[in-house]
């Protein structure tokens, strides 16, 4: 392992004119990753990927990556200018699982992909696949306490769900006013005048997003909105039996179509 590398090293050293490709690729990788973070920040797509509490970390990463990339580029420039290779840059042999070129290639590919791809928010299909609940399961986050905003009309979907978790008797809420926004999900087996108004909740990043929703009963004659339409639903709470369970349902609903919010998640 050792001895064959020595002569090769000696032979290669005099070729000082060669471009330091590895360093160039490294700096490209860092810069592109930094730019990818910058792009997500500028376009607001970061909201689709992260909980706002962690955004400063992403911004920090962006700054560090850009600094690293620029520093590396500076090194490359110096090497080219001095027509002389620095040992530190080329001596990056390291015991690794993946070959160096593969690693660089992968990082570069993903960064380029991130520069062109537009992340999209999760849709009703995902919500259905992940199982919408009005009960936060055993493994869901269970805050020790939460403060409800004053009137029922100010509660968001997730506020309603949390309230229901604390006191699950639907009748206790009958007649209260509701004003929530979310997207439409059609649940299989539900009558045609019902749909679920849904939101995804984040604790950390999109990877742990889980859907919550409230059933909405449409007034007579109102057509059922298409899945994934963003709506503001105003109405009043009533109880109804759905899927063999007595649940809270938003009744006498007025629907207003709204554009998809910049930040589609609730927290």
């Amino acid at each position: 392992m050792t001895s064959p590398s020595l002569p090769r090293r000696r032979r290669r050293l005099p070729k000082t004119q060669r471009l330091p490709w590895q360093a160039i690729v490294d700096s490209l990788v860092m810069l592109l990753w930094g730019l990818m973070f910058a792009r997500f920040t500028v376009t607001g797509h970061l909201y689709l990927l992260l909980h706002p509490d962690f955004m400063w970390l992403a911004h920090l990463a962006m700054v560090i990556l850009l600094i690293l990339g620029i520093g590396r580029l500076n090194q490359v420039w110096q090497i080219i200018r001095q027509k002389q290779r620095q040992e530190a840059i080329r001596s990056q042999e390291h015991f690794a699982l993946l070959p160096r070129r593969f690693s660089s290639g992968l990082l570069l590919t993903v960064a380029l992909f991130g520069m062109v791809y537009t992340p999209r928010p999760f849709t009703s299909e995902t919500a259905f696949q992940r199982g919408i609940t009005d009960v936060l399961g055993q493994t869901r986050s269970r805050p020790e306490r939460f403060v409800l905003s004053g009137s029922p009309e100010d509660r968001s979907i997730v506020d309603w769900i949390r309230t229901l978790n604390v006191y699950p008797e639907p009748d206790a809420y009958a007649g209260q006013g509701v004003n929530v926004s979310g997207f439409v999900t059609h649940m299989p087996g539900w009558p045609s005048n019902m749909f679920m108004i849904t939101r995804f909740v984040l604790t950390c990043c999109a990877a742990d997003a889980y859907p919550v929703g409230l059933p909405v009963e449409l007034p007579e004659g109102t057509p059922r909105p298409e899945p994934d339409t963003w709506l503001e639903v105003e109405g009043s709470m009533q109880t109804d039996t759905l899927d063999d369970t007595r649940q809270l349902v938003i009744g006498s609903a007025t629907l207003t179509e709204i554009p998809q919010p910049r930040n589609p998640f609730e927290y």
Binding site: E125, T126, C205, A207
Partner: protein
């Protein structure tokens, strides 16, 4: 199409979430490798075996590296004459018991603080037990790779003297040309040193400075150290970043492509969930700095015990780690080690599933 978009969004979200932590881990390990002298550290360790294993598992707080960086350090500790208990404790616990990983786990699981603390607790328990077991073996040499035992085996002057350590190492690792070339071209020496000491990030990365560090007690000038740090960061980032990409891709794929019923049926059984997550941890080999975010994506369907199993087992033994461990241990030893770790993790997390929360 929807699935694909979801998968990609998940994938990017995991990357964007984990990258800052990976960067922080890389920065810390680069800074501390350059500024902390493990030789001095060894002098301060307790003699008692139990205390030594505990101390070993706590050294991670000094070298916050994930499992990709700890093998070289453990190897260095062994070469510098650390007791087996310390080196083993360090090897197993350091990737988990360190500030960056603790913080990342806290960020991911702040709603379930028990996971964060049990992760550290279980890791310490397992690391201590295993280092105690291995300490029963007075002579570790049959367990270690031959080239490493050669380095340890020579009659040792004081292990605290770095100059000797270097000569021993160079003499043993570089056959003909380099051993005679100690005072001559430091570049050549370092080149050889690189190839022979896989994974020794600092030494690999900035060999001239490393040689200087070993021969001359003073540190290289700040400018050089900063450059070395930058180089080391880029190197680790490239390597760990690509593993992170693969891990995130697998996590995203599993989430969108594997039918939910299968995952649910696996994830809700107290035993199957643990086994599944341990296998996943072994295969995915994701870096411990960021594995909590990976685990988080399974948090809604898998039992807490199985998430813990993932978080405890993965940093100790995984597919990627084996290649690194092979630079220290013989194959047989790694099998012992893996089986022991797996059994202990399984028992502890099963107890948690059955009796805990």
């Amino acid at each position: 199409m929807v699935q694909l978009n979801n998968g990609i969004t998940l994938f990017l979200s995991l990357l964007v979430e984990a990258m800052p932590f990976l960067l922080l881990g890389v920065i810390f390990s680069s800074v501390l490798l350059l500024f902390v002298d493990e030789r001095k550290l060894l002098g301060m360790l307790p003699r008692n075996v139990v205390l030594a294993s505990l101390a070993g598992s706590m050294i991670g707080f000094m070298f916050p590296v994930c499992e990709c960086g700890n093998v070289p350090v453990a190897r260095r500790l062994l070469m510098k004459g650390a007791p087996t208990a310390v080196a083993m404790g360090y090897l197993l616990a350091a990737p988990t018991v360190n500030p960056i990983v603790f913080w990342a786990t806290w960020m991911a699981f702040r709603d379930q603080p028990e996971i964060v603390f049990l992760r550290v607790g279980f890791t310490m328990i397992i690391a201590t037990i295993i280092s105690l077991i291995f300490s029963r073996q007075r002579d570790m040499r049959p367990f270690l790779q031959d080239n490493l035992t050669k380095l340890m085996g020579e009659p040792v002057d004081s292990p605290a003297q770095g100059g000797n350590g270097l000569k021993r190492r160079l003499g043993a690792t570089c056959p003909a040309p380099a051993s005679s070339a100690v005072p001559t071209s430091p570049l050549l020496q370092s080149g050889t040193f690189l190839m022979q000491a896989p994974g020794q990030v600092l030494q690999l990365d900035a060999p001239p400075a490393q040689v200087m560090d070993q021969l001359v007690p003073s540190l290289p000038p700040l400018k050089d150290r900063l450059r070395m740090m930058g180089d080391n960061m880029v190197l680790e980032l490239r390597e760990l970043g690509s593993v992170l990409i693969i891990g995130s891709a697998i996590a995203a794929f599993v989430q969108v492509a594997v039918p939910r019923e299968i995952i649910l049926s696996l994830g809700q059984g107290p035993i199957t969930s643990i086994l599944a997550m341990m296998t996943l941890a072994w295969v995915v080999s994701i870096c411990s700095t960021v594995d909590s975010f990976f685990a988080l994506s399974f948090a809604s369907v898998f039992t807490s015990g199985s998430l813990l199993a993932f978080l405890v087992f993965g940093p100790m033994v995984d597919l990627k780690n084996i290649s690194l461990l092979l630079t220290v241990f013989k194959g047989r030893t790694i099998v012992y080690l893996s089986v022991l770790v797996a059994q202990l993790t399984f028992l502890l997390t099963l107890a948690m599933n059955l009796y805990g929360g």
